[in-house]
Amino acid sequence: MSECVIPTLTSNEVVESKSVLPEGWKADLSNLKAVDLTLPTLELLRRSTSRLPQDVIDALVKGRDAEEAGSRAFNTLNDMVRNILLADGHVTPLCQDTGTLVFWVRHPFGLSQRTAKQQVRAAVAEATKRSWLRPNCVEALSGKNPGNNMDPFHEGHPIVHFEEWERPEIEIAIMQKGGGCENVGAQYRLPDAAIGAGRDLKGVRKCIIDAVVKAQGQGCSPGILGVAIGGDRVTSYEKSKEVILRKLGTPNPVPAMDAFEKEMTRDLNTLGVGPMGYGGNTTVLGVLVEEMYRHPASFFVSISYMCWSSRRRVMTIGTRGTVSFD
């Protein structure tokens, strides 16, 4: 299986032709009470579960081509690319673990969050029925699976973050966060004597290296690391996830952080963990860092590990009511 796969996804025309949205679908943003987000959210899920973002594909291909042709690392990355093309072509989930669904909804004043949440939930239930999502939400202790991805208490799943903004558009971002990679995330409280990490950037560096070595291949490497420095335990972890929405290859707006991200990516790829922990030069696809404020007594470094199948999409309903996906 070592033949080099060319990473060409189906064209936008084909994707549009398979859309669940009727041609010419529009929302009337002048009447926010009447806007129904169910169908566009279903389309968002269809795309995120089956079509990997181009920047992630580019990073995987770059990694593959830096491995020795025919090596296990090369073949594994090649199989990943092959899988991406199959899922895209068939409109089936890239991975059977369709993840915890995390939504970020940003909206103008006047949209009912309660109604929007019901619509997002309806879209998730429908996507589950269509086998685009695995029923991935179970009762904690009993493991009982309601089968529809719905936490009946409206808290645990799907996760929907809301933010009102000053802009007229509605934006919904989604992340499908797999369980294997979620399990290898880590939060450090500095100073950390066990790894000799102090309260500075060098300390942060040690946390990141430690987390990646502990993760080995279990988070489905090559991973993408979201790192938050500061915050409290909750906001820190939350931010570490949100930063993974940034496209790979887009520079960090803070020059010092941008340099740090590049240095970390380069150094982590010398660890030799490699794709799926088989060994190789591609251990991470990128490191995304954001600094926050914190309580003087607390210094948290939170790391969210995203698997190579970094499923994320952003949908925007513009002022004219038309939908676009990025």
Binding site: P93, K144, V213, C307
Partner: protein, 192 residues
Amino acid sequence: MIRLTTPITEAQVRQLKVGDEVLLNGRIVLSRDMGHKYMKEQKPEWLKPILENMVIYHCGPVVKKHEDGHWSFVAAGPTTSIREEPYQAEVIETYKVRGVIGKGGMGKKTSEGLQKTGAVYLHATGGAGSLLAERVKRVVDVKMLEEFGSPEAFWIVEVEDFPLVVTMDSHGGSLHEIVLAESQARAKVLMA
């Protein structure tokens, strides 16, 4: 490339070494967290003929039920195996399992179980859900679907040329241990 068809004999398994690439054919049985806890704690007899000389796959698939009632697999890559570490060795011994498919590798206890019973750990590419589902040719049966839910049920399926790598063999070899030790040594240098 080694082609294997289930059921597998102990002699066949003992020949496999870390690094061998395997194409697996025949029947395999899916089981993950709930199934392993259940097998260790309740040791159900009915699973014995299903698992003897067979291969367990750590996987919670996305499935589709067709109008005529038959099932197919839509996405079916491996889940992280280390969660089954407390159960695996005993399950292998009780049921005479010859292979375990998963991702991420397993620990010492499982390695000892592989050596004792004569079994291997086979690694599949994590996240390759579509690619691997294509190699699942038929869903033969499903057990404990009501009780466990679809991701956790015992799905019995037939696979064709299922691509795997031996990363833990029946002689104590483990690719995961080697990569871990080497990356830890490198980390020390990077953290200095």
